[in-house]
Symmetry: C2
């Protein structure tokens, strides 16, 4: 009986155990954990990142670039339309495309030269006999330059006009340059020749007009661009340097976005301001020329020697002009004649948009963009960036189509139109969807020219994004080295951080050099701009020498800039890694204390530059210092709170609250009232950075009486906006 009892008990015990196990593990509880509970707390999957990085392929990058640069694709031309179709085909590919892709048109105000009446620059004697004519097209070295769609070099938005006058040399066309000339010369009725750099394109002409100058030429100085080299045998196709006939095209305007519809999306029905009300474009004709032609003009000039800093690499001592040419010249007594036939037209320009829908937070967007339009073939600008974008979308699209991955947040890809004319496509996009974008966008990643050169990574960004760029760049091998992109970068450009010691230097997005401008300055979205860049110890080049010329071709890019496409790959891996981390991280990888460190740094510069002068006027910088201190303290608190939280166990709404605080931090620095007349630049963290760099800033201090000056207004706004931003670190 004992045995039986034991057996029964044993049987019972075994059965009980089996039952418990079955009951616990095999039978679904009615109130079982919904799938989304696990999904909601999922973080970045490092194995996905590894796989993604491994699949980004140099051959694909090369073929993307080859396809994109087959023909010139200036905004709204047939070549541009072909790239629209190409992008759509790729993004709608059933195996490697995105969830969806479409085009969005804007009707925008563009400026073109006249195909049948090309712009002319000539030297004419008093009897109007032409003594010299500048080239109308760049010299042909390869079939690319022969394409009839290569647009004549011109200054977009320069007015049409027929002007002539004695020539003067005005260096970079800064106000100070004209003022110097004006001390000894009567500039009224003259034509000025200026070199690129040092001042915005349009400002060279706007400044000139203030002195009565009637026309402006702009050339590329070989000292600035070619490290002094000027001969055909030393320039492309024999090197990366600009050939003597190469001309930098460009948009001659100050404001970004469509010029007729400021702050409104340029749709069919949108009100357009009268053309006469456009500001920021040249009031007098302007035309760019190559240094071969510039040499003919500058080296014949009469007058005093130009100052040392005005001299360049052309084969003569640069003189200021008599005005006009020296008496020993065949051009003696001759005028320079500009005959400009630019016309403005409303054209439909397309953005191509593509999305991957987020699985957990579809209403949070990471936007990645680049412009699509070029001036000519645009191999480096912008197609090197577009090639990278297409390779990123191919790999991510494939993972999505195969069901292997879907980001936590939505990803929006933007192939912007008409950037070269003033960041138009991206600006119109932000104007059309401004509330939606500002409410939902986590970050904007801009990769325009992806490879300027192949020495090192370069990144400019909101301080909040520094840490994710560092994380990503530490996981990518630097081409041609045995080290990481991060370590390599640190060797080329670094700073000493109070928090971290020596780290790579992340630039600030102060300007409006590419499509990040509307996202950062207008919407206050955390933005970054990523590329591969020069070894600055090896070249003085202002930018890669074929910039905006007919030589920026696939041949140029694949021969001289990145033959193995390994720098393209390094940028794709770094920017792509940042993208996936921003899209997948449970907690957004933004760091408030890094932000505070940058504010501190800017404040330090402002204090050094201004505190003493201000104190003399009875204006104290203490409130501003207090505000920055408060920002730093609360940022540290939020960082601590984040560090002490076990986010995977928290409610998704708690994580969302922290993410919203992080996402909206840059937005808190928007202040439309600090400079109401420059509404597009509302992002005022940048104000603190401005003193040394920008005239919308503390620099204006001395122009105004104390206490009632715009300076005090600005400082008060800075104080308020910093306090406002502090609240972003406080919960509830």
């Amino acid at each position: 009986m004992l045995k039986e009892v034991l057996l029964g008990v044993l049987t019972g015990a075994v059965a009980l155990t089996i039952g418990i196990l079955l009951g616990h593990f095999a039978i679904d509880k009615g109130s079982s954990v919904p799938d989304w509970v696990r999904d909601a707390s999922r973080d970045v999957d490092e194995s996905i990142i590894e796989k993604f990085l491994a699949e980004l392929d140099t051959n694909q990058l090369r073929e993307n670039l080859r396809e994109l640069t087959k023909v010139p694709h200036m905004a709204t031309t047939p070549g541009d339309e072909a790239t629209v179709d190409f992008m759509l085909k790729r993004w709608q590919d059933p195996n490697t495309g995105l969830d969806s892709a479409w085009r969005e048109n804007y009707k925008v105000y563009l400026s073109f030269p006249n195909k049948t009446s090309p712009n002319k620059v000539s030297v004419v004697d008093p009897a109007n006999t032409v003594q010299f004519t500048a080239r109308e097209r760049e010299k042909v070295y390869k079939p690319d330059q022969e394409d009839p769609e290569v647009v004549q070099p011109y200054a977009a938005y320069s007015p049409a006009g027929n002007v002539k006058g004695k020539l003067v040399y005005a260096n970079q066309g800064k106000m100070s340059d004209y003022e110097l000339l004006n001390r000894t010369l009567d500039l009224t009725g003259t034509i000025a020749i200026t070199r690129y750099g040092g001042e915005g394109r349009s400002k060279k002409a706007i400044n000139a007009a203030k002195f009565g100058i009637v026309g402006v030429l702009v050339y590329t100085e070989p000292y600035d661009m070619n490290d002094g080299l000027v001969s055909e045998s030393e320039t492309y196709p024999h090197s990366w340097y600009l050939p003597p006939s190469g001309v930098e095209r460009g948009s001659y305007n100050i404001d970004f976005g469509d010029l007729l519809t400021p702050y409104l999306a340029a749709k069919d029905d949108t009100y357009r301001i009268p053309k006469e009300d456009i500001t920021g474009i040249p009031p007098i004709p302007a035309q760019p020329i190559g240094f071969e032609d510039a040499e003919r003009l500058i080296c014949e000039l009469d007058g005093d020697d130009a100052p040392n800093e005005w001299q360049g690499s052309l084969n003569c001592t640069y003189k200021l002009g008599g005005p006009g040419f020296k008496s020993t010249s065949t051009f003696n007594n001759s005028n320079v004649h500009l005959d400009i036939y630019n016309t403005e037209r409303l054209e439909y320009s397309a953005n191509v948009m593509g999305i991957i829908r987020g699985s957990v937070e579809p209403d949070r967007y990471v936007i990645y963009g680049n412009h699509r339009d070029s001036w000519v073939h645009g191999a480096i600008d912008p197609s090197s960036g577009t090639a990278v974008m297409l390779e990123i979308t191919r790999v991510l699209g494939k993972m999505v189509k195969e069901g292997k991955w879907r980001p936590r947040r939505s990803i929006i890809f933007g192939s912007w139109g008409a950037e070269e004319f003033g960041l138009i496509g991206s600006a119109e996009y932000t104007e059309e969807y401004f509330s939606k974008l500002s409410e939902r966008t986590v970050a904007y990643i801009n990769v325009d020219i992806s490879v300027f050169a192949n020495a090192t990574l370069r990144a400019s960004a909101s301080p909040a994004a520094q840490s994710v760029i560092f994380t990503a760049s530490k996981q990518v091998k630097a081409p041609g080295t045995t080290t990481t992109v991060y370590e390599n970068w640190k060797q080329y450009s670094n700073r000493t951080s109070p928090n971290y010691g020596i780290i790579p230097n992340v630039g600030f997005l102060t300007g409006a050099g590419s499509d990040y401008a509307a996202f950062m300055h207008y919407l206050g979205i955390t933005s970054m701009d990523i590329s591969y860049f020069y070894d600055r110890s090896k070249t003085r080049a202002r930018i890669y020498p074929a910039y905006h010329t007919a030589y920026d071709t696939f041949d140029y890019a694949s021969t001289y800039i990145d033959p193995g496409f390994t720098s393209h790959q390094a940028v794709a891996r770094t920017a792509g890694n940042v993208l996936v981390r921003l899209a997948d991280s449970l907690l957004l990888p933004f760091n408030c204390s890094d932000y505070a460190e940058s504010l501190d740094q800017y404040l330090g510069q402002a204090v050094t530059a201004f505190e003493e002068k201000l104190a003399a006027k009875g204006i104290s910088m203490e409130p501003l210092k207090k505000a920055v201190q408060l920002f730093r303290d609360t940022a540290a608190k939020l960082d601590r709170l984040i560090r002490d939280s076990d986010l995977a166990k928290e409610t998704p709404l708690k994580v969302r609250q922290m993410n919203d605080q992080l996402m909206l931090l840059d937005r808190a620095f928007l202040d439309p009232l600090a400079f109401p007349e420059q509404y597009g630049f509302r992002y005022e963290a940048v104000l603190l950075k401005h003193p040394a760099t920008n005239d919308r800033s503390l620099m204006n201090l001395n122009r105004h009486p104390p206490n009632h000056s715009p300076f005090v207004h600005v400082m008060s706004h800075l104080f308020a906006i910093t306090c406002n931003a502090v609240w972003h670190h406080t919960g509830m």
Copy 2:
């Protein structure tokens, strides 16, 4: 053996079953459902609402009002400080208080009469002998009027000054009124007497100055306020009507918020504009007087009979003035003399803030507020509203302290300071925390004067909030009736809705009459203003007759306005119900289609008023019509999506996405550029409503050339902003 086997099997089976049951039900699965999953999907608990409504008590309301009105509590006076302490004591009460409560100070620019040199209004003959002096204080009927802290009637922000001149009667002080006088009279150097109503207080003086008038008197016309009654025996303390000596005080300014710190919070360190730069205040002295004194002046006037619409209930035919008095009057040849001693001071004004922290979405705020400051005892304005707020916080605070309830979202209570001087406390609050508030605030509920009279509910609100006000008002019994507040309201004020048929009429928050202004117009937060109101068929009174006088006392309120405090209770129940629903609803009870219906309605008015005139100038309203249509279609889609969702089973992030769309809908109508010079009024859904009511609007059309007019600018912004708002209905 069989038996044993059977026994064993049976034992085993029983044990297995027990085991399965234990395993399934008794042992917590490692991955069991976290508590927050249930919390996150919890919706409004109707039993909590019932309990809350039942506890709102008329006796408590009465005692709140008694306490709040013991002494005059004009902003920043000792009486105001006493109410600060009282609010804090109540909100920090351990048994019925809030989670926390504190004061926030702003240093604001206020205007006061001089206690030692009271303002004087007199009639003086050519030899400067005083023939008549207006009262300096209102007549004492009850001890309240004897309090030395009763401020002399004055026009806040009227400049100090000593002016005299011949008197003219200028009706309501509108531009058209002065223009009419100006046709036959030389107004230079005259004093105008005007009546309240028809035009803003400050504008009466600003308009006057344009005609060379040197001083303005403002009186309360008994026709407008007392249904014509003028005798002491018919007015307070014998009825609710204004006694002959009663004077309406008021702030004579146009802009809301502290006048020296526009768009910046008035903290110690904030930059203050020079006083000379203040706009919107009287350029000439102004002073309010009672109708007893007005009668002495108006009934002695010479000149033509005033137009019929200018006549009132004083005992004479109103004449325009010679200028000056009639020859048969003892005042013949005499001037009216204004001797004003107002002074401006910077004073610390306090907001008292209190919060109940949300359990699930603490970073979503429902804000409920009222100002605390009065002109004198302020029983109706604002203490009737403060009494309601305190009763709501008592009942909610008790539920929280007892652990019986905690709202899903956070509730913020604001007791604003210095509203009477221009909505200052609430405006500074929105300026200080503007990003945080605009990102996180679900709605703002304003209950200022809670009971004007006890006939019916009155509500003005963003169209999105109509439905929740209806829901709440259907659950409250209307005092003195057998029906609900909703049904009673519908009888007094209704409209025919295309969607719902006959419904109560919810007004639009177009003006800046109370503290909702900064929330609605500056931040675009869905706002509402709730009170109990007149039977308009029974009285013409502009407002309750003791408004802003020394007769607005507890005695007045409890004798004539709401003796049983049942209307106070009805407002507390309705507004409190709205508050709890906004705080607790899983999905925010906002309706996009109601919004679309209102836009349609406004558009209809604009089309009727302008389409023909515009067409004649070649301007089409079609784009605007299309935009509104698009808004309506996408709103309907979102409503359908919401209806078809089983939200309780959705991830909290999906619900949050919909809630964010609903919360931010009103924000999408902000457009700082539509009227850059009136930045405080950025909320432009209101533009469509404006044509009939406001000069920042389409009304300006005829002042400008076609196609380039501000009208087209505005219409284009309206179009853009409507399109922008459409995206709020679209997911991802």
